[in-house]
């Protein structure tokens, strides 16, 4: 058996990398593990069709990316109902004359400190979970993973303008949620 057809070698070489890739996109350990599992099974079945024009890692990542896209689209479809309530989502933050409902507070902090602040990360996680599904996925892919606009639009099946609207709504809701938990609230 050559190295390339040894599944144990595959899993030990790329298992952790693929798991981290999936986890940062779906934010759930069980789902991430399932997606990686499906990826290896599909890759193993199709191993004879691998021509070696890309690296094995790129090939596996490509398969995983498809699985993640399927998962995200499925989640978004399943939560259609939640989205219908989402028609005029800037109204909670602005009055009829387009001014802020509540004054925005200054948030004095540094990215370095916040990134290492466990309390901030837990709060952010819970604030993210309160977002409507589509806003959450788009925000995570774009802002946390730094995926390109084009990639995110393809994965979530939306236009660029849609993406900008969803990011805008997600940021308004997150800023409000973080402020209500004391991050950048008036002291």
């Amino acid at each position: 058996m050559t190295h390339n057809s040894n599944v144990e070698a595959w899993v030990s070489a790329w298992g952790d990398f693929l798991f981290r890739y999936a986890l940062s996109r779906v934010q759930d350990r069980d789902i991430a593990a399932d997606l990686v599992q499906e990826t290896f099974l599909a890759a193993w079945k199709g191993r004879h069709s691998f021509k070696g024009e890309a690296s094995r890692k790129t090939w596996l990542t490509g398969i995983l990316k498809h699985k993640i896209t399927d998962h995200i689209r499925q989640q978004i479809r399943r939560r259609k109902l939640e989205m219908a309530l989402d028609d005029d989502p800037v109204s909670p933050w602005f009055q009829d004359d387009h001014s802020w409902r509540e004054p925005q507070q200054a948030w004095h902090d540094s990215p370095d400190r916040l990134a290492h602040d466990r309390d901030f990360r837990l709060t952010l996680e819970s604030c993210l979970h309160r977002l409507p599904a589509r806003q959450r996925f788009v925000f995570i892919l774009r802002e946390i993973n730094g995926d390109s606009t084009e990639d995110v639009c393809k994965q979530c099946d939306i236009s660029t303008t849609n993406l900008h609207v969803l990011m805008h709504r997600a940021r308004l809701a997150l800023r409000h949620c973080l402020q209500s938990h004391g991050f950048g609230a008036s002291s």
Partner: protein, 81 residues
């Protein structure tokens, strides 16, 4: 009179997504000079943006669970050549 705040908040977000036109940049910056809410909001978005990029780098290393590892190996080895 309509306020510019709702539009300014959109521009503050868009600025992190695309290149604003010169006109858009000017409108946003001038508005932020006179409106503390929008200035604070725009600054907060920048702070959040920078923090999330950082947070991604300092994330602890995650390993594929051992049970999943074993399951994959077993399933693949059981498949006919």
């Amino acid at each position: 009179m309509n306020h510019f705040c709702q539009q300014a908040s959109r521009l503050a977000s868009d600025r992190l997504e695309r290149r604003l036109s010169l006109k858009e940049t000017l409108r946003l910056n001038i508005h932020c000079l006179i409106c503390s809410s929008c200035r604070h909001y725009a600054d907060a978005l920048r702070l959040l943006h920078a923090t999330l990029r950082k947070a991604h780098e300092v994330e602890p290393a995650q390993e594929l669970p051992a049970a999943t590892r074993q399951y994959i190996i077993r399933q693949c080895q059981e498949q006919p050549e």
